[in-house]
């Protein structure tokens, strides 16, 4: 019998196969997220829930005096993609006005679904490593879940789902 799925010498490695999805940046942020944890003081928070797979995230937002997002923290139980996405999100929304943040979500969602980002500026380019999810339809929601929670927090709602 042949040996299905086994890659012998000279064939591609697992890293070659999934490198589009699990880029080094994602593995790093997934393993050692910098913004993980509940903020000691926050102005808004919301939970995100993906009922299909059981991923959960809670996002905490602290506003600056001018109403921009000063800091974001999160607590998550989920896969490498969702944790890396939450961490990168916290990085890119720092200092942004809520309206800006909403626009960034729309840009990011488009990128996650299509792999393209025609209007990506330098900040949004930081999210580019997540664009690989577009090839894995069941994983797109892993990447967008933290953003759904953030949007709910900005809107003063307690919870969101990525359904």
């Amino acid at each position: 019998m042949n040996r299905p799925g086994v890659s012998g010498p000279g064939t591609t490695t697992l890293a070659d196969d999934v490198g589009d999805l699990y880029q080094q940046v994602i593995l790093e942020h997934g393993r050692n997220p910098r913004h993980a944890g509940r903020l000691t003081a926050f102005d808004a928070s919301a939970k995100g829930d993906n009922p299909m797979c059981g991923d959960r995230v809670e996002v905490f937002v602290k506003y600056a005096a001018d109403g921009t997002v000063a800091r974001t923290g999160f607590e998550a139980r989920g896969c490498a993609i969702s944790i890396a996405s939450a961490d990168l999100m916290a990085e890119v929304v720092a200092g942004r006005a809520p309206a800006d943040t909403r626009a960034m979500f729309e840009t990011f969602r488009h990128m996650a679904q299509t792999g393209d980002c025609p209007d990506c500026d330098a900040t949004m380019e930081k999210l580019r490593p997540l664009a690989g999810v577009h090839d894995y339809p069941s994983r797109v929601k892993c990447a967008t879940l933290p953003w759904h929670a953030l949007m709910a927090a900005l809107d003063g709602k307690g919870s969101a789902t990525s359904e």
Binding site: G5, L14, C79
Partner: protein
């Protein structure tokens, strides 16, 4: 094939040849399908039976006076005989066709729950039920004032019999609804003891056989059960067809579930009378083609034989547990003695979804998530697990591929 584990009279290569889909490649690799507990693949015999029905003898059932309808009715009703024989039912009228296990349980929750049970009586389930055997009883509780009790599961993934007995003790439990085989742990529950204890305490028992009937011979009379449900698509049959078996006197006493054509004796605007059991519970045009497919699936499984299937799958499961035990950081969830070919696991440093995606890239299909058993996951302190499950067509070699692929996943994340 691994020669260390021969199953007498069981030729897995020949069985695989009966399943056209197993010749497919996924992402350029041969399909290693280890998700049969979610839904099994279909043998040629099932596909042919359904196509043949549509091509040569199809009409609506129980209503035409013409040749085609009579032949189709015969074929549809022959499935009832096949299911009655499969479960060793006392009588063919004890077999009710539903869409799936979920609908069969909802039927009982409605017709037995609301129709026969009284407010203040209790339904007892276990912590390791599928959502299909939880939510209908919650709906019954909220609509009808029954209580819902939950018997604990031990760390090893077995029913806590002490807790089970304690929750029966006050005699208020009218119905125990419990799985025959867990879709998360692969554990078989000690169903004869469960049923005996329930009956001693005045409770009827519904057994969720969705997983068990695929792997073991089920004899509802020997078990002493009152209700037994299963779903066709896990038994190598089509989707859209499931089964409720219940004791004749229970079906007689229960009011109908849904109203419509086929389930009536006569209808006037003032009142209608019900058809005889089991037709009273089969409103509307049934899943005719799917029922015919189910008969072919039962015939296929019976021809191989449950004894051979059980031996093959026991060897596969032993092999899988031995191989997975060598993978660092991998933890198999549940260590029940009596278990079948369903293995859930977690891996340190890798989330179940990441495991599933990386296995998929290597051509290996497993399930990841809460397996429609969120309360059980919470009880275990887990959000999700990866689950490999085996069927009659699974080979030892595929399990070796799973193990080798998991080693690569571990290297990737650690």
């Amino acid at each position: 094939m691994n020669d260390a584990f021969p199953a007498v009279g069981f030729d897995v290569a020949r069985i695989r040849a009966d399943f056209p889909i197993l010749a497919q490649t996924v992402r350029g690799k041969p399909l290693v399908f280890l998700d049969s507990a979610a839904s099994a693949q279909k043998p040629r015999a099932v596909i042919d039976a359904m196509v043949n029905c549509m091509e040569t003898q199809y009409a609506n059932v129980h209503r035409g006076l013409h040749w085609m309808s009579e032949r189709t009715t015969d074929a549809y009703e022959a499935t009832r005989d096949a299911v009655a024989a499969l479960l060793h039912a006392n009588d063919r009228t004890e077999i009710v066709f539903t869409r799936n296990s979920t609908e069969a349980i909802n039927l009982v929750a409605h017709s037995y729950g609301r129709g026969i049970m009284k407010a203040g009586q209790a339904v007892l389930i276990s912590e390791m039920e599928h959502h299909a055997n939880i939510v209908p009883w919650q709906m019954l509780r909220d609509a009808h004032g029954t209580e819902l009790r939950v018997a604990a599961v031990t760390e090893s993934g077995e029913l806590d019999m002490e807790d089970y007995a304690a929750k029966l003790a006050d005699g208020r439990v009218a119905l125990v609804a419990i799985t025959h085989m867990s879709n998360v742990f692969g554990t078989y529950t000690p169903i004869e003891r469960i049923i005996r204890l329930a009956h001693e305490n005045g409770a009827k028992v519904l057994v969720d056989g969705s997983q068990a009937v695929v792997h073991r011979r089920v004899d509802v009379q020997a078990l002493g059960a009152d209700f037994y449900v299963f779903t066709g698509h896990k038994l190598y049959g089509p989707t859209g067809i499931g089964v409720l078996w219940a004791r004749h006197e229970l079906l007689e006493a229960m009011p109908p579930f849904m109203g419509g054509g086929d389930m009536i004796g006569s209808v006037s605007f003032e009142r209608s009378t019900w058809a005889h059991v089991p037709h009273k519970f089969e409103a509307g045009t049934p899943a005719i083609i799917e029922a015919i497919g189910l008969k072919a699936a039962i015939g296929y499984v019976e021809a191989i034989g449950y004894e051979a299937i059980a031996a093959h799958e026991a060897a596969l499961t032993d092999h899988a547990l031995a191989r997975l035990a060598t993978i660092e950081g991998l933890r198999v969830i549940g260590r029940a003695q009596d278990r079948g070919g369903v293995v859930s696991f977690t891996m340190q440093g890798a989330h179940a979804h990441d495991i599933a995606t990386l296995l998929d890239r290597q051509g290996v299909a497993v399930r990841a998530g809460h397996h429609c058993a969120e309360p059980l996951m919470r009880r275990l302190g887990l959000d999700s697990t990866a689950r490999a499950s085996f069927g009659i067509y699974t080979t030892h070699e595929e399990i070796d591929v799973l193990a080798a692929s998991l080693e690569r996943v571990r290297e990737f994340f650690v």
